[in-house]
């Protein structure tokens, strides 16, 4: 029984964190965030670097060019990316990879997975309407083609493909740039990633052709995406806490460092008291995705909700510890604040995912 990181996990985590620390300095984040929304949220060199590190093939079996090490590591990578607010379409691509593994036909897997591992194929997620359709958006099949609208696509513009769900929960893939497809960037608080609105007018759509029942495939895909989002929040919240503690040890008021004020100490203590057990919950939820499959869905809902809540608290408190500086653009703390704010709403906010968890446990019908 080992509940924690193995030696190998730690090596991978260290190498990813080291890579990201040099490749994604705050200036790079700023630069991309300032770019127009067509370019925002994607650094192609960074993506290639991640592919070279093998990070895009962690869940992909060796016969498709990956290392088949499991979902837990993918969550650790997502955490590391959140930690530096990396402009990378990782959640979309990884969740789609997971969907292809679980529910793609052999031919689809053979075609897509090696390309994903190499960094050549990237996926946006058009799944929001399966959780909570806003503005009456929906994607429908007419014959073999897709019609309708989907909002808040995750990793919209850097994607070469879109994993899209019909309103009755069938998953399939659309090619970016396909005839009849219009993709418009959506401007959100989070400019470290890319968001979009897709309009389909008779777009050709290829359903995932594996054996897993439609409903189960959708739930497992959502679960994976939610765990990755929660991991992203965990990483971002940890960085905010670290920055708050470091700032408090430097900044002086009333002739002393503010870290010596008990009010400030207690804010930091409260943040870490929430963060550490939440990390343990997230680890389990990630592990469950491929090792405790019967709990994969429930744990993803609960972990997403929990990280969403404590992430928000930490984002607020860590900003407060920085005083006015936290509110400015100067220290760039707001990129983390906004990233956490975005993760919280995607694919179901805390109340929505908890209600799903209640249904999964038959607390309600």
């Amino acid at each position: 029984m080992e509940f924690g990181l193995s030696e190998d996990d730690r090596l991978l985590q260290d190498s990813v964190v080291r890579f990201l620390t040099t490749e994604v300095p705050l200036d790079r984040v700023r630069e991309l965030a300032a770019a127009d929304t067509q370019k925002a949220g994607f650094d192609s060199a960074l993506w290639q670097g991640l592919a070279d590190l093998g990070v895009l093939g962690l869940v992909v079996p060796e016969r498709f060019g990956g290392s088949g090490q499991g979902f837990f590591l993918a969550a650790l990578v997502s955490e590391a990316l959140g930690g530096v607010v990396a402009p990378a379409p990782y959640v979309g691509t990884s969740a789609a990879t997971w969907a292809l593994l679980l529910g793609g036909s052999a031919a689809q897997q053979e075609q897509a997975l090696p390309e994903i591992v190499k960094g050549k194929r990237r996926y946006a997620l058009a799944l929001a309407e399966t959780v909570a359709p806003r503005q009456d958006a929906a994607l429908r099949l007419q014959g073999n083609t897709l019609h309708g609208e989907s909002l808040c696509l995750i990793d919209a513009l850097p994607a070469t493909h879109i994993l899209a769900a019909t309103s009755d929960g069938m998953l399939g893939v659309v090619e970016q740039g396909a005839a009849g497809l219009a993709m418009r960037p959506m401007q959100t608080i989070d400019r470290t990633r890319s968001w979009g609105l897709m309009q389909a007018n008779g777009v050709s759509w290829e359903p995932l052709g594996g054996d897993m029942p439609r409903d189960q495939l959708l739930r497992r895909t959502l679960a994976a995406a939610r765990v990755l989002l929660a991991a992203d929040t965990l990483g971002a919240a940890q960085t905010m806490l670290d920055k708050a503690v470091a700032y408090a040890k430097e900044r002086k008021q009333f002739s002393r460092v503010i870290a010596s004020f008990q009010a400030v100490k207690h804010m930091c203590a409260e943040m870490v008291t929430e963060l550490e057990p939440a990390r343990s919950l997230l680890w389990y939820a990630a592990h469950a995705q491929d090792h405790v499959v019967e709990e994969a869905d429930l744990m993803a809902c609960l972990a997403k909700a929990h990280l969403g809540d404590i992430g928000r608290e930490i984002a607020r408190s860590a900003t407060e510890v920085h005083g006015g500086m936290g509110f400015t653009d100067l220290v760039g703390l707001h990129y983390w604040f906004k990233r956490i704010g975005m993760d919280r709403q995607l694919l179901g906010g805390p109340e929505l995912t908890r209600e799903e968890a209640a249904r999964l446990q038959h607390f309600v019908q």
Binding site: M1, G4, V245, P277, S280, W283, R354, F363
Partner: protein, 409 residues
């Protein structure tokens, strides 16, 4: 991550399960806040004999004598708790004094005190807090001066849980009045029957008298009743505080507690409909707490892995008392809210639910938020030792220096 157990542990788990199935009819219902009954002591002896209590305590001190193995300990706790069967006696003697003696006691002390304590024949109370020394424990004033081969003790302790039925007290006293605050304290073992000790029960908010004031007037104990050296009592006490805080954040207990709250929401009704379906706000609170309970549970497993690898878990360990005690309090609060007006019933009202445990737990868990180092003290510890932030001023000099810096009003 690997949550499977290898064969040896699987076999061990089965062995524990078999024991529980075969013997559960002998288990006492609940270990209460009283002196252990004969039935409880019999059960305790049976547990020790099979190695499910006092497992790692050496045979010569009456224990089972198994080598330390955190996974075995975990499996035992897990199985007993899942089965809802008593894991034997707890209490400050077993949880705090025994580990301290094992670490720092003399051979005679170990032989004399450990065997009757783990069997439940010798009951202990903890005499640390004083009216003017709570969070600032090191400012305690109860004194002990040496006269011949005795310590002569004078002073007062307060909040002393179980003192009214204890045989012995492990106690902090000031033996070197001229030494600096933390260096003048000694750790003594005091028989409660010694002349000059007076125990006055203090009623608590739950309506029970679970703790006491204890007065000492020229109480004499042999100088050999000291643990560690004179003036080293602070260090000795800190060894035990670690054990106390570990005891106050038990994920198994919280998990069981959560399950009972689920039952309350399903069972209690308004206009014939269960609270669970009728009141989505309370359901949301339940799910919110479920996330926290699971976080605490998995956090426990993570710490366990650290210990089994002989690693220091760092700040992850320090947050456990604060997190766990507040969570228990919130769980009880939710159960009460689900019952509404009927959640306020108490004592022996005929409509009382679950023997009145919810209100008692609601209040008692608040006591645990305060006892064993308050939440604010925990936050000081977490920020200082866990995050490396500056220490609160502690010594008179540091305090004088820090107040001198405050602007005059």
């Amino acid at each position: 991550m690997d949550l499977t157990y290898d064969e040896r542990y699987q076999a061990f788990r089965q062995e524990v399960q078999r024991f529980i199935t075969e013997h559960r009819h002998l288990a006492p219902r609940e270990i209460g806040l009283e002196r252990p009954s004969e039935e409880q002591k019999r059960w305790q002896r049976l547990l020790i004999e099979h190695g499910y209590a006092a497992r790692t305590i050496p045979k010569e001190y009456g224990g089972f004598g198994a080598p330390m193995d955190v996974l075995e300990q975990f499996i035992i706790a897990d199985e007993f708790s899942t089965a809802g069967v008593s894991q034997g006696l707890s209490g400050q003697g077993i949880a705090m004094l025994v580990p301290t003696l094992l670490e720092l006691g003399t051979e005679e002390q170990k032989k004399q005190y450990i065997p009757p304590t783990i069997r439940g024949d010798m009951v202990w109370c903890q005499g640390y807090s004083e009216p003017n020394a709570g969070s600032d424990l090191a400012s305690l004033r109860t004194s002990a001066r040496v006269e011949g081969d005795c310590f002569v003790i004078n002073g007062q302790k307060i909040w002393t849980s179980s003192a009214h039925f204890s045989d012995m007290m492990f106690c902090l006293v000031r033996t070197e009045p001229d030494a600096p605050k933390h260096k003048g304290i000694s750790y003594l073992l005091i028989p409660m029957t010694t002349p000059g000790i007076e125990v006055r029960p203090l009623m608590t908010m739950t309506g029970d008298a679970i703790f006491n004031e204890v007065f000492f007037t020229d109480v004499k104990v042999p100088v050999t009743n000291i643990v560690g050296q004179r003036g080293e009592g602070w260090k000795v006490a800190n060894a035990t505080l670690i054990y106390e805080r570990g005891m106050l954040g038990d994920p198994n207990q919280t998990t069981n507690f959560y399950k009972r709250v689920v039952e309350v929401l399903q069972r209690e009704t308004i206009a014939g409909e269960s609270i669970m379906t009728r009141q989505p706000q309370l359901r949301e609170r339940l799910l919110r707490l479920q996330g926290r309970v699971l976080a605490m549970r998995f956090h426990g497993l993570r710490l366990l892995t650290h210990f089994s690898r002989m690693e220091m878990p760092g700040v992850a360990m320090l947050v456990v008392k604060l997190y766990g005690t507040v969570l228990n309090h919130e769980l009880a609060a939710l159960a009460i809210d689900a019952m509404g007006e009927l959640g306020t019933l108490y004592d022996k009202d005929p409509m009382l639910r679950d023997d009145g445990i919810w209100q008692r737990w609601y209040m008692f868990s608040l006591g645990l938020i305060i006892g064993g180092g308050t939440s604010q003290i925990q936050k000081n510890i977490i920020s200082e030792r866990g995050l490396g932030m500056p220490r609160e001023p502690r010594t008179p000099e540091e305090i004088a220096a820090s107040t001198a810096k405050q602007p005059q009003s």
